[in-house]
Symmetry: C2
Subunit: 208 residues, 2 copies
């Protein structure tokens, strides 16, 4: 498989964790977002949305959007499972993933921050915007995840795949995590897990 990725992209980071947790080999094809490579004709012909990540499967299909790619990996490579067995618990895990994937990360995506800057906002206001949405989302996640282990148990799963990159972004934007002891516990556990360290933005082929 080939992964179109950018080292610092939150949603690329998610997919890298899922690939690593499943022990899947892939070739990283970096797309430099700062240089605008995602808007180049070559990349747009592959992915008309012009975003990363995108996954080329061994069958040659080009899959876009991290939530779709992560579900694909779970279906095509079921072991180790990143979702639990019963439908209601799976929905609880996906609920946490969706809070992060729909209501937090999209609001501090680089394209949104640039749009705010175009509307005349300075970095102080941009950072307040970021902190508002991250704070609101992480507060809900803190209430919904479990009391020990990873988000939902002894082994990392889809909720952790979303949470760890989101916390990395929060730290990059200096959002205080003091009110989220459960989240901090999961972050500490993930920091000792090879799949999470391997997928980290600091260790990618395109890391500066």
């Amino acid at each position: 498989m080939e992964l179109f990725t950018y080292y610092r992209s939150t949603s690329s980071y998610r997919v890298r964790i899922a690939l690593a947790l499943k022990g899947l080999d892939y070739q990283a094809l970096p797309v430099n977002l700062l240089k605008g490579e995602q808007r180049g004709a070559e990349y747009l012909a592959l992915n008309p949305q012009g975003r990363v990540p995108a996954l080329r499967t061994d069958g040659g299909a080009l899959l876009v959007q991290s939530p779709a790619i992560i579900e694909y990996l779970e279906e095509a490579f079921p072991e180790p499972a990143l979702l639990p067995g019963d439908a209601e618990t799976r929905a609880r895990v996906r609920g946490v993933a969706s809070i992060i994937g729909c209501d937090v990360h999209p609001l501090h995506n680089v394209s949104v921050l640039n749009q705010l800057r175009e509307l005349g906002h300075d970095e102080v206001q941009v950072n307040q915007w970021i902190a508002h949405w991250i704070g609101q989302g992480l507060a809900a996640v803190e209430r919904l995840i479990g009391d020990e282990g990873f988000c939902f148990g002894d082994w990392p799963g889809v909720a952790d795949v979303y949470l760890i990159p989101q916390v990395h972004a929060a730290e990059r934007f200096n959002v205080d995590l003091g009110s989220y002891p459960r989240i901090r516990r999961v972050v500490a556990l993930a920091g000792q897990h090879p799949a999470f360290t391997q997928a980290h933005p600091a260790r990618q082929p395109d890391t500066p």
Copy 2:
């Protein structure tokens, strides 16, 4: 089942379509977002994120976030299927759903628009913001869906569940759909399908 819903909420509308396509009965429990009922203590005790929709299953579990609820319905009530059979095609369908669910709708959610107003933007600027994100997202969706039928074939599925409420929002915000003939084709088909008309914001118990 019980669905916490608001007639005009885009993500509640998605879940209503999925329930209707599967022929599932449920009790609608309206949450009046204009009156702030989603932030009341009673509702927050159920759903700490304070958003709709939320689904109470027959087993009593409270599920949040429309993407998680829709996947739950597909797993718990497999027929009729809203996702195709093979993993790569499922990923294509979910990719379109995620473009709408992650990169379009969250950016014109009422809480985001209110945040823009708090930052001093007038309705002209707010509408430009909305049109920017809807236009960018629908342009990608137009490239990714099929040439006939619903988004991905003869029968409606998860991509249609996301697309129809998104187009309804686009029309409410006066976004021009002239450049999206495939999307307009799907909208015309859905307009004749009882599950979509039954789920429409104009026909809910809390519709004013």
